[in-house]
């Protein structure tokens, strides 16, 4: 099920009405159990609405990691605990590897063999990628690692753990939640405040705006430029990349906001996943503001265990490149994602000695740094969105050899790009100025109602109601 579907339009009100009735009907303790039971059923239904067959995978992942958590808690010898953790990680990575990467590796190995004159007949399995598998395997892996590290106590309540894994607002496209943050909220009675309802409703409305008005309207503009084999003039490639930059941001940040908003209405706080990522001036800051739950996951469970920045400068650079390479591969089984990850790693390495200085700049240098960083980010999106490495090379070539400003597609690309991005940029600037993603809620009453009303009008009048899936579902 997607948030922008008619199904969700009845699903959430029904679930929410039942959820709010639990405590009044059953009292605080039994009400909490009823709420968690309801959330589990609703979350599994939410997932099954896409494809019920893959519920088994979700359930298997939940049972294995729940059991591993308890087993590690019972064991006292470090070696045995490490074996349990390794088994759990191996299980999760096997799921991910099989469903997400099997064909990628098989195809590439076969191609390599063919290049060497050998013929390898692999069984190529055209397996369907279970939606959200990258997200929930990372969630369960972080739980097991945290238990191993003794950062948290494993939960004995299976329903609580299953809700933590499958909680429908974050199940299929994140944020990638940590047990330390979410489990306590599931285990204790929740009191929903007026502030949570207000901010939740705004986050939902703003998330739909980002998805339906910004992302889904920019999608055709980007698709036209990135169509396989297309040869647009360089200036149109540039506009197409801008369109994709805001499309992917609107799509993913929109999903995260709707997830946060629905969760707030239920009294559960999810972490902020995006914080004005296109207003930063260094790659270091970008990864502190873009897909925050993934970048912190990679930092805590990959970069730091690899050695982080504790070793020599050379080791730190190596760790950054490895982390970002794997981060790129997490996004999908394609060489373009690997190259994108490598590119992000290289950017982090190159900016590392200068990041603090650049962050301290003011005035014109600050603006220049922002412009440069935005275009470096866009260069990354060119790699990310290109259908293949060959298409990426052709599009990049067009930028440098066929830029032709006179060929700008004004009505087809430039005007719609400006129209769809401007309202988003205005609100972002308001939020960034206040350093608060909920700054709109604190505007004077007239301005606040103006924003609410304009947001609704823009969604209803110009939103794309085609029900397009969220890009990050494929990851």
């Amino acid at each position: 099920m997607v948030f922008n579907s008619l199904q969700f339009l009845w699903f959430f009100p029904v679930v929410y009405a039942l959820y709010r009735a639990c405590t009044p009907l059953f009292g605080v303790d039994r009400g909490l159990r009823a709420e968690n039971g309801l959330l589990l059923v609703a979350s599994y239904y939410f997932y099954a609405a896409w494809d019920y067959r893959f519920l088994a995978l979700l359930a298997a992942s939940t049972i294995v990691d729940y059991s591993c958590g308890l087993a590690m808690n019972r064991l006292t010898r470090e070696r045995q605990r490490r074996v349990i953790m390794a088994l759990s990680i191996a299980f999760n990575l096997s799921l991910l590897g099989f469903f997400k990467y099997f064909n990628f590796f098989a195809d590439n190995l076969a191609a390599l063999a063919a290049a060497l004159g050998w013929r390898l007949d692999f069984v190529t399995l055209r397996v369907l990628l279970p939606i959200g598998i990258s997200f929930y395997t990372f969630v369960t892996m972080s739980y097991v690692i945290d238990v191993y590290r003794r950062d948290i106590q494993p939960t004995r309540n299976f329903v609580d753990f299953a809700v933590f894994v499958a909680y429908f607002p974050h199940l299929v496209a994140g944020p990638i939640l940590r047990a330390t943050k979410l489990l306590p909220q599931i285990q204790r009675p929740r009191r929903i405040t007026g502030e949570q309802i207000r901010s939740g409703l705004w986050l939902i409305a703003w998330g739909f705006f980002q998805k339906i008005f910004v992302a889904d309207n920019l999608a055709p503009l980007a698709s036209r430029v990135f169509a396989h084999g297309s040869h647009p003039a360089g200036v149109n490639v540039l506009l197409g990349v801008y369109a994709f930059a805001f499309q992917i941001y609107g799509d993913f940040a929109g999903y995260s906001n709707i997830a946060r908003g629905t969760s707030k209405l239920m009294g559960i706080e999810l972490i902020e996943n995006f914080r004005f990522p296109y207003l930063v001036r260094t790659p270091q800051a970008f990864w502190r503001h873009w897909h925050i739950s993934l970048s912190t996951w990679l930092r805590d469970y990959l970069y730091i265990p690899l050695g982080g920045s504790r070793g020599t400068e050379r080791q730190t650079r190596r760790n950054l490149i490895i982390t970002m390479l794997l981060g790129g591969l997490w996004h999908g089984a394609a060489w373009t994602f690997v190259l994108w990850g490598f590119y992000q790693g290289v950017l982090l390495v190159l900016f590392r000695p200068h990041a603090a200085i650049i962050e301290s700049w003011s005035g014109i240098r600050r603006i220049a740094a922002w412009v440069v960083m935005f275009h470096l980010t866009c260069a990354g999106w060119l790699i990310f969105r290109a259908p293949s490495i060959r298409d990426f090379a052709a599009l990049t070539g067009g930028l440098f050899s066929n830029f032709a400003p006179s060929a700008v597609d004004v009505t087809g690309l430039l005007v719609p790009l400006v129209l769809y991005v401007t309202p988003l940029a205005v609100i972002h600037l308001v939020e960034a100025r206040a350093d608060d993603v909920l700054a709109v809620l604190r505007l004077p009453v007239g301005a606040r109602y103006f924003v609410y009303s304009a947001t609704l009008y823009l969604i209803l009048l110009f939103g794309n109601f085609g029900g397009a899936e969220f890009i990050y579902f494929q990851f």
Binding site: L6, S223, A227, G229, T411, G412, V445, Y457, L460, L461
Partner: protein, 374 residues
């Protein structure tokens, strides 16, 4: 305090309504816009047709065109007078794929066909030269029934030497079934496109609806509501899989639609033969028959509703249905498919041809018309 806040909300909403209304009227042309709807007028026989001498500018994210209708009610900036000696006239009947509001008149395959035919005449060394005039007689929302009626009511008077009936295989069977009653009645005013009919129908006199029609904002909101209620009503009774003309086992009405379409083509040909004009048929595929990504999405969507999409079934079914007629027929599908990979032949947000798509169809028709003896 609460009353004041409510007043403030209403005032802000009203001011923004006026702002969006103004903005939509100035920049936001769409098919729901009064300016676009003004291109059409009711017709007692066909239901509706293009309004003579209408003119509008149509702007969307993908294109910006000016549409001019001549005094005879076809998309042409010239009037069509008596046929001069040495002129051969080709009338192209069809729906929005022929009318092509997405591109300038000079980019339509009708105009390009005229240019190509005349260019080959100019370069011809032997024999008497003729001048070709290709008339775009396409109308948005028409199906084979309306095209037959339009031919009889309007296009026959152009004295064509050749009539090309354009079949859009994607929906013409469905359109033919929906409009079958007009064939018998010959006086129905019920067009097959509900949004268009709503906008055109003079018979429903409701103050509220008039207000809605006059407002761009309310028009768009009305379409949103209609879309949601349609989707909700489909839930109540599970919908049949979409794109029935492409279904493995199509609904019975598809066979009826194919039969009615064949009857219409036959009737056009018989009528044209009466004025010594020949008839040809051009089949145009749906975008997903050409575009792989589009096909993937639709296949998945149809399978999601329990159906099975056969990509070229509609083309095959129309080819088979029309094969019993002794009327030359050309399918644009192979040429459009051969054009990819490359720049798009269909627009992303509509199922209509891009300028490149028009060039390809014009080339296909040029070769076909000449092969058939001009």
């Amino acid at each position: 305090m609460r009353g004041r806040r409510a007043l403030l909300v209403v005032a802000i909403a009203a001011v923004q309504f006026a702002m969006f209304e103004a903005a939509l009227r100035i920049w936001g042309h769409s098919e729901a816009a009064p300016s676009f709807q003004a291109l059409f007028m009711p017709d007692p026989v066909i239901g509706y047709r293009l309004r003579p001498n209408a003119r509008t500018r149509f702007v969307t994210a993908e294109f910006d065109t000016t549409i001019a209708i001549n005094s005879q009610g076809v998309r042409d900036d010239r009037n069509i007078g008596p046929k001069p000696a040495g002129e051969r006239r080709i009338v192209v009947l069809g729906d929005s794929l022929v009318l092509s509001v997405q591109v300038d008149a000079r980019q339509t395959f009708c105009h390009l066909l005229e240019e190509r035919l005349n260019a080959s005449e100019t370069s011809r060394a032997d024999g008497p030269r003729v001048h070709y005039r290709v008339i775009n007689a396409g109308v948005q929302g028409y199906g084979p029934v309306e095209e037959l009626l339009f031919y009889r009511e309007v296009a026959r008077a152009f004295a064509p030497d050749l009539v090309i009936e354009t079949i859009f295989v994607g929906n013409d069977a469905e359109d033919a079934v929906a409009s079958a009653a007009k064939l018998a009645a010959h006086a129905s005013t019920t067009p097959n496109d509900s949004s268009l009919s709503d906008a055109l129908s003079e018979s429903v006199i409701s103050r509220l609806r008039r207000i809605v029609r006059r407002s761009m904002v309310l028009q768009v909101l009305r379409l949103r509501v209609v879309s949601v209620t349609d989707r909700l009503s489909n839930w109540a009774s599970p919908p049949e899989p979409p794109l029935q003309t492409y279904a493995e086992k199509p609904a019975a009405r598809i066979a009826d639609g194919l039969r009615i379409s064949r009857q219409c083509v036959e009737a056009i040909a018989a009528d044209a033969a009466g004025i010594h004009a020949r008839t040809m048929v051009l089949l145009i595929p749906a975008r997903f028959q050409v575009d792989e990504a589009d096909y993937g999405h639709l296949k998945e969507a149809v399978e999601g509703t329990g159906g099975h999409l056969i990509r070229d079934a509609a083309s095959a079914r129309f080819n088979e249905a029309l094969s019993t007629l002794a009327i030359p027929r050309i399918d644009a599908l192979p040429a459009l498919r051969a054009a990819l990979p490359g720049p798009d032949v269909f627009f992303q947000q509509t199922v209509h041809l891009t300028p490149r798509g028009h060039q390809i169809v014009a080339a296909v028709l040029d070769e076909f018309v000449r092969r058939q003896g001009g």
